[in-house]
């Protein structure tokens, strides 16, 4: 086993409020109320701003100086919640507590019960703060809050945990039927009130690597079995995911043929990727599974940075990357130095540094997109590998144009940033 080196915290990052973007779209009857500062509102505006005109089902309760100096939280938040209920009629409100309430020890979660009693609208209190290793973990907190309200059961059932699109869910459903397994339930579903029963005989299968918290919560509180495997990204991951799921029900099923067929359907894209090299910059927590499937597609993985490794939850993914340098919480400067040394053909990176890396001659695929595109399963594999291949093709095509015309793509002239003012 390799030893992932843990570096410092100087890095570029996004906020855990970001998952509200895909969660509020998935749960059509939900509303997300974020208790936080003007910065939280600014973040939501910047990150999700395009949706502002459809009467967005998210808003920020911006704290003022009264709130900071100890005003009663329930008293402050109640009129806002009543206004939201009157205007939007949501079936459920996610009451998000951000960094500042956390620092002030404001009891935002404690408002949920009285507000629910008062309005008759389901309240899910959840932490949506920036203290998690990765911004995708906002979804983890939302799902944990929902698991708390799931009914219990003794029945043997499957709950697929993690926000998926209808087409990804359809594949999960059809595969379970084909394997003779119980029909899976999904959390979240299209309604925020649609909660699957979870009990000691439930097989809880997380489809995203950033759901450690909700999975451990369910295990602790409900004693359910954890589907311990790789995540269903790429033909290889999907095969292992389904085979392990069948094994949980005592069935031995080989999906070797399915995996082969899926690779065949990806061949057009795999042909572009095969033999090229890739590095991952720490970002979404998807780095381990993506590196695993790109390696299976024939790419050389030079180095992987990831915000955090959950030793047990990510064990299979880690094992699949044996022999590859993996860096937990990489330092920005060290990361740049490594990229310089490795000069990979493709860098998977976040938006903050994508342009800076392009400016240094790297080919970048920005990764945030992968969190909200339907890329799971055999069915999503061509889309998943296609995104990397499309990026590679584009970079290849532009490089040919530059070579043929002998024209360099010079970054916009802000050269005063390049040179240190001091010798």
């Amino acid at each position: 086993m390799f030893d992932p080196s843990t570096e410092t915290i100087e890095r570029d990052d996004f906020c855990s409020l970001a998952p509200i973007g895909w969660l509020h779209h998935k749960m059509q009857d939900s509303f997300f109320l974020v208790v936080g500062t003007h910065s939280c509102q600014g973040f939501l505006q910047t990150a999700l701003g395009v949706m502002i005109f459809a009467k967005p089902r998210f808003a920020t309760a911006v704290l003022d100086e009264d709130d900071l100096s100890g005003r009663d939280t329930l008293e402050a938040v109640q009129p806002l919640v009543e206004a939201i209920v009157a205007e939007h009629r949501p079936a459920a409100i996610f009451l998000g507590s951000t960094c500042t309430p956390e620092i002030l020890k404001m009891n935002v979660a404690g408002c949920a019960k009285p507000l629910e009693a008062l309005t008759g609208v389901r309240m899910y209190p959840c932490r949506l703060d920036g203290f998690d290793p990765a911004y995708t973990q906002g979804e983890d907190h939302v799902l944990a809050a929902m698991i708390e309200r799931c009914p219990t059961t003794d029945a043997q059932n499957i709950v697929i945990l993690g926000c998926l699109s209808a087409i990804e869910e359809a594949e999960m459903r059809l595969e379970c039927a084909a394997m003779g397994l119980p029909e899976p339930a999904f959390l979240p579903a299209e309604s925020a009130l649609d909660l699957p029963p979870i009990g000691p005989n439930t097989v809880l299968a997380a489809v995203h690597p950033y759901l450690y918290g909700s999975v451990s919560y369910a295990q602790r509180e409900r004693g359910c079995a954890i589907h311990q495997t790789v995540f269903p990204y790429g033909p290889d991951g999907t095969r292992a995911f389904f085979e392990t799921l069948a094994a949980a029900f005592g069935k031995t099923i080989s999906y070797a043929e399915r995996e082969r067929a899926a690779w065949t359907s990806c061949e057009r894209d795999v042909a572009v990727l095969r033999g090229r090299s890739v590095s991952f910059v720490s970002d979404t927590l998807l780095e381990l599974p993506l590196a695993r499937t790109l390696r299976a597609a024939g790419m050389t993985v030079k180095a992987v940075g990831t915000p955090n490794i959950y030793r047990k939850f990510h064990a299979r993914e880690r094992a699949a990357l044996e022999g590859i340098d993996v860096y937990e919480r990489p330092d920005r400067f060290e990361m740049f130095a490594r990229l310089d040394a490795n000069r990979p053909d493709l860098v998977v990176a976040n938006l903050n540094i994508a342009n800076a890396l392009e400016g240094q001659g790297f080919n970048v695929k920005w990764a945030t997109e992968l969190t909200f595109q339907p890329v799971h399963g055999f069915n999503g594999a061509p889309a998943l590998l296609g995104m990397f291949a499309a990026s590679m093709r584009r970079h290849d095509a532009l490089a040919r144009t530059r070579d043929r015309s002998q024209t360099a793509a010079t970054p916009i002239d802000l050269s005063f940033f390049r040179e240190p003012a001091r010798a």
Binding site: C15, T100, Y135, P420
Partner: protein, 502 residues
């Protein structure tokens, strides 16, 4: 608590960061939760920087809450040793300020002589300042810190241009346009502040004969400071429009004692007033316009539209509450209807109630106006990446006047955007794109007699974003025919997607 969905101005730390990051040789460390650093993304994306912005987030973590100290000293040392800035600016977001960390104490503990950069904390209040005041203060204080006394005046007439910055509205183009303009007049540009100003240039700011700005509200504290330190006169008016630029240059010539024929030579570029005389522009007379945005931009653009194009200013306004009175005074002879509000809904309601022929505003007015079928030109921050053009598109000086003419021209004929919004609706795209908004035309399903779709397949297709549904349907049917499948169910839809890819 106040419910907020959208706001014109960013929080104070973003204003301070925009200002400090724009200097050359200054690195900013923002003490904040990681998400408060979203300004970094805006910098990197909108400005299309080919390098990392000179900006580092010192992130609050779980450990901070448990009582760990910020260890800002280590981060300062790191930035100092790796990036060699001349100054390191430390600023905090509102959240970090609530924590009341003893950053000053930590900074004081840094062993003397170990850090080559100067460490500077602007006096920005994370809650009471806003983006504009925090920006203006930060620039003024950094300028005051570096500017040296006893610097001789430049031999030739010279100006400092105060206000342009990263993420500023068309600031790169404005700086180029103003540099050309001053070159035509034989006036040297001593420094542009903060955009690209190096510590050496800042030390010599006192050598300029005059200070001018691209935005009064962003530059005034700096110009006042330089006036009090060096007695340098300054011009508050910003050169918008052809007549406006000539007025500005006349004042400039008076203060710099330039011969007046130089203005005539410089104005040879200007075409706006001639355009306004041409038959093509006659239809602009009396057209009703609304103007809303940053105070200087609104004052400047409203006057151009009224004085130079003979349009009628139906209403004007700003979201900078501090500048409402100033703006009213500026527009006294143009309109009584000056709206001062930071609530975008108030502006949308105003557009709805007055239905101007053309709206001039920020990105938000562009969205609001399109809901009412009113064409809108963006003339002010906050703006989207569309207003970081690759080409030269200034709003100031004679070249800027020409560009404003083009903008008016293009905006009034462009009905296309309205049409697109009607067709595609306001909803976001992507994985969970919803069904077509009310009133939008559903693409018709192709009539296929040889194939039937069962309920499961129809349901799944219903969840596919409506704008790709027609193409997806055709792909599925093509696949079904190839595979000789007569009845399409959801498994066929899935197989087709995997077959086609994407």
């Amino acid at each position: 608590m106040k419910l907020a969905v959208w706001s014109y101005l960013s929080p104070a730390h973003v204003g301070a960061t925009k200002a400090a990051s724009s200097f050359n040789g200054v690195h900013t460390i923002v003490r904040a939760p990681k998400g408060d650093g979203y300004g970094t993304i805006m910098l990197a994306m909108f400005e299309r920087l080919g390098v990392s912005p000179p900006l580092t987030i010192s992130a609050l973590t779980e450990a901070t809450l448990a009582g760990d100290r910020a260890d800002i000293g280590r981060m300062i040392a790191d930035v100092d040793q790796r990036l060699h800035p001349e100054m390191i600016v430390i600023t905090r977001s509102a959240t970090a300020s609530v924590l009341q960390e003893p950053l000053d104490g930590e900074i004081a503990m840094i062993p003397p002589g170990t850090i080559a950069a100067e460490i500077f904390q602007p006096s920005v209040h994370p809650l009471r300042d806003n983006e504009i005041t925090a920006f203006a203060k930060t620039v003024a204080e950094i300028v005051d810190h570096f500017a040296q006394d006893g610097i001789a005046r430049t031999p030739e007439p010279s100006v400092n241009i105060i206000g342009p910055a990263l993420l500023g509205f068309h600031d790169h183009s404005n700086v180029v346009a103003l540099r050309r303009l001053f070159a035509d007049l034989g006036v040297r540009v001593n420094a542009v502040v903060p955009l690209g100003a190096s510590p050496d240039q800042l030390r010599a700011l006192g050598s300029a004969w005059l200070n001018v700005s691209t935005s009064r509200e962003l530059a005034l504290p700096t110009m006042q400071k330089l006036h009090s330190r060096f007695g340098t006169p300054f011009i508050e008016d910003v050169p918008y429009g052809e007549a406006g630029t000539t007025r500005f240059l006349r004042e400039l010539s008076r203060l710099l004692e330039l011969p007046s024929d130089r203005i005539t030579a410089a104005s040879r570029e200007a075409k706006l007033l001639w355009y306004s005389r041409t038959v093509d522009a006659h239809a602009l007379s009396g057209k009703r316009v609304g103007v809303f945005g940053m105070p200087s931009a609104v004052a400047g653009i409203a006057r151009v539209l009224h004085d130079e194009l003979d349009m009628h200013v139906e209403f004007a306004g700003t979201f900078s509450l501090d500048d409402g009175d100033w703006l009213r005074e500026q527009l006294r002879d143009l309109t009584d209807d000056v709206l001062v509000t930071d609530d975008y809904q108030d502006v949308a309601n105003k557009i709805d109630a007055t239905r101007p022929d053309i709206m001039f505003g920020s990105q938000m007015e562009r969205h609001s106006a399109s809901r009412f079928g009113v064409p809108c030109a963006v003339i002010s921050s906050p703006c989207h990446i569309l207003n970081f053009p690759l080409g030269h598109a200034p709003f100031l000086g004679y070249e800027g006047a020409n560009h404003i003419g083009d903008v008016v021209n293009q905006t009034q004929v462009l009905g296309l955007e309205h049409h697109l919004i009607e067709t595609f609706g306001p909803r976001g795209q992507g994985r969970f794109a919803e069904a077509a908004p009310e009133g939008a035309a559903e693409p018709a399903a192709p009539v296929s007699t040889d194939l039937s779709w069962d309920e499961t397949a129809e349901k799944l297709m219903g969840r596919i974003p409506f704008f790709v549904r027609k193409k997806a349907r055709a792909n599925v049917e093509k696949y079904a025919r190839e595979q000789r499948i007569a009845t399409i169910d959801e498994s066929v839809v899935l197989a087709a997607r995997q077959h086609v890819g994407g």
